[in-house]
């Protein structure tokens, strides 16, 4: 049972003076303090949050207008720059980095009165599927602290499920919002690429990164999306948003909705203990009126291979800025420029970051660029084409978010390629820039299982409507 009302109701009560922003922030901070053993939080922003809460309460008592999210506490993955606070991306190379500006998504939320109370743990630079690659600590799954929360937004997912705040922000490049949502048992929304500005968010793979909310309900996710989405002059890859609010969701239910089960997602990659949960969920959607059939996405395996060539390449480019000259850790004993770069990066980066930088440098190097990177980008085109074909037959696609439930901490630590496999169900949506969502579908051996839904590009509202109906059918 959550201590938080739905986000819109929470804000309404604050606006009406029935709840105070200070109270809500206090509640959030208490819950955070009571759950430190899960290691979901890198730092709280107590002073800043309480100041903002007081300001909001003062405005309300004077009858001034406050925003649509007035007083609502939230937690941001620590790759979001929040002005004047330490932003680390869970990497030693950014320890002590004090954000000199802030992410547009944070600006928009704060403009509507929401209050950032803490920064959540992640795999360093968002490189990972389990949050075990954080340079600081591993976050524990709220359902079983011996298991991972998923990643890379593991701290954000755990924070929502531990009821620390009504919502958290995450980023998703290959499944990093949806996988932890699936492993921890909450809603994780990946918008259409470009719908939400990436300005002020530590870059990983610029052609695939998106920002999105983790929440306890689809309706809450839709409201957060509505606040954070829109063209931003600071991010030239942003697209026009819908004119109508994303949280204005029609309640048309599932009747007649055409959904395609991706045959390749329910094949041998789907664990036999997870399968019955997914099949039962699909049956409930059918009973509620959904028109469900199987469709093919033959390039699913190729999508994972393309992803793990394209993404390290883009990572190697984006991480070249961490050179010890303008911000972040700097190796002070260097006697020449090369050492200043090379020893700073050697000491500051963790193992996975270095692995991806070297792989990325390899696939982009002269003589290999065409065979690896360019070919992968062309397979990407093929994957996009297969989605287009599938969406000619159905309106939405469905599968499990992951073929497994949360695995024990340390189990995949020595096997990076096995770890990469956990992304099999989620990466294709990133390559194609499509909106996708994970909603809780049930439990397998007491661990959460997520149902994954994908829609065509820019069909975010339709996807949220479907997800809301599916959530109801699975309740």
């Amino acid at each position: 049972m959550s201590q938080w009302l739905p986000i819109n109701e929470l804000a309404e009560k604050v606006q009406a003076g029935e709840l105070s922003a200070c109270e809500l922030v206090g509640q959030a901070l208490e819950t955070i303090a009571a759950n430190t053993e899960f290691q979901a939080i890198i730092a709280t922003l107590e002073v800043r949050a309480r100041e903002r809460a007081s300001e909001i309460d003062a405005r309300i008592s004077k009858g001034k207008t406050v925003g649509r999210l007035a007083g609502v506490p939230f937690i941001a993955k620590d790759n979001f720059l929040v002005f004047g606070t330490e932003t680390t991306a869970a990497s030693n190379i950014l320890k002590g980095f004090n954000a000199p500006y802030q992410a547009t998504a944070i600006e928009k939320l704060e403009a509507e009165g929401a209050i950032c109370v803490a920064k959540a743990n992640l795999d360093a630079f968002a490189h990972g599927s389990s949050t075990e690659n954080s340079d600081f600590m591993t976050t524990k799954n709220p359902h079983d602290p011996t298991r991972v929360p998923g990643g890379s937004s593991g701290g954000s997912a755990a924070a929502v499920v531990l009821d620390m705040a009504p919502f958290a922000l995450g980023t998703d490049t290959g499944g990093s919002i949806r996988l932890p949502a699936s492993f921890c048992g909450c809603v994780g929304y990946k918008p259409t690429y470009g719908l939400v500005s990436r300005s002020g968010v530590v870059a990983m793979s610029s052609s695939s990164d998106v920002i999105g909310p983790l929440t306890r309900s689809v309706v809450d996710a839709a409201l957060v999306l509505d606040v954070i989405s829109g063209r931003d002059e600071l991010d030239s890859t942003t697209i026009e948003r819908d004119n109508n609010p994303y949280n204005d969701l029609a309640s048309t239910g599932l009747a007649g909705k055409k959904i395609g089960i991706v045959r390749q997602y329910v094949g041998e990659g789907l664990d036999d203990r997870v399968r019955p949960v997914i099949e039962a969920a699909i049956q409930r959607l059918r009973t509620a009126g959904a028109d469900i059939k199987e469709v093919d996405l033959p390039s699913v395996t190729a999508a994972l291979a393309a992803y793990y060539i394209i993404v390290p390449a883009e990572i190697s480019s984006n991480l070249s800025r961490y050179d010890g000259q303008r911000f972040g850790y700097s190796f002070e004993q260097a006697t020449n420029l090369y050492d200043s770069f090379a020893k700073t990066r050697a000491r500051g980066f963790g193992r996975e970051a270095k692995r991806r930088i070297i792989i990325g440098t390899y696939v982009l190097s002269s003589g290999y660029y065409d065979a690896y990177y360019k070919r992968a980008q062309t397979v990407r085109t093929k994957v996009i084409g297969e989605f287009d074909q599938a969406f000619a037959e159905v309106d939405f696609l469905l599968g499990p978010t992951a073929g497994i439930t949360a695995f024990p901490i340390g189990e995949l630590a020595d096997d990076p390629l096995q770890m990469y496999f956990t992304d099999t169900m989620t990466v294709a949506a990133n390559l194609a820039g499509l909106p996708a969502i994970s909603i809780p579908a049930g439990l397998s051996d007491n661990m959460p299982v997520g149902l994954h839904l994908i829609a065509p590009q820019r069909a975010d509202r339709a996807l949220l409507e479907l997800a809301k109906a599916a959530e109801g059918a699975l309740a």
């Binding site: 004090n98 000199p100 500006y101 690429y193 052609s207 002059e233 030239s236 890859t237 697209i239 390039s299 395996t301 190729a302 291979a305 393309a306 793990y308 060539i309 190697s316 070249s320 010890g324 000259q325 303008r326 911000f327 700097s330 260097a334 006697t335 020449n336 420029l337 200043s340 770069f341 090379a342 020893k343 990066r345 050697a346 980066f349 193992r351 270095k354 692995r355 930088i357 070297i358 792989i359 440098t361 390899y362 190097s365 065979a371 690896y372 070919r375 992968a376 980008q377 062309t378 397979v379 990407r380 085109t381 093929k382 996009i384 084409g385 990076p416 390629l417 390559l431 820039g433 590009q457």
Partner: protein
């Protein structure tokens, strides 16, 4: 399984401006070799007639007005993380000569 040579990895480390220890060189020699598996998977895919996708939005030539905009930050704000600052400039090691 195919793997890169130590020299190959050191060359990549040079390009990426990152020092690696012996354990890392060995590990990444294998890791890069494993990427060859991914590449083989992709070699087998028929991509005839397809062009590479470098971005999915379809946006081109996103422009803005050529005017200076004041975001309200003082130079000191923006330089506060710089290790060595002199006269609002970022000081680095000698590059030439």
């Amino acid at each position: 399984m195919a793997k890169l040579t130590r020299e190959d990895v050191l060359k990549l480390a040079g390009l990426a401006r990152i020092d690696l220890d012996d354990a890392e060189i060995e590990e990444f020699a294998i890791a890069c070799g494993a990427i060859l598996n991914y590449a083989e998977t992709l070699q087998a895919i028929d991509i005839a007639g397809l062009l590479p996708t470098s971005q999915v939005t379809g946006l081109t030539n996103v422009m803005r007005e050529d005017v200076v905009k004041n975001y309200g930050y003082a130079p000191a704000d923006l330089l506060k993380n710089v290790p060595h600052v002199e006269d609002d400039q970022i000081k680095v090691k000698r590059m030439i000569g």
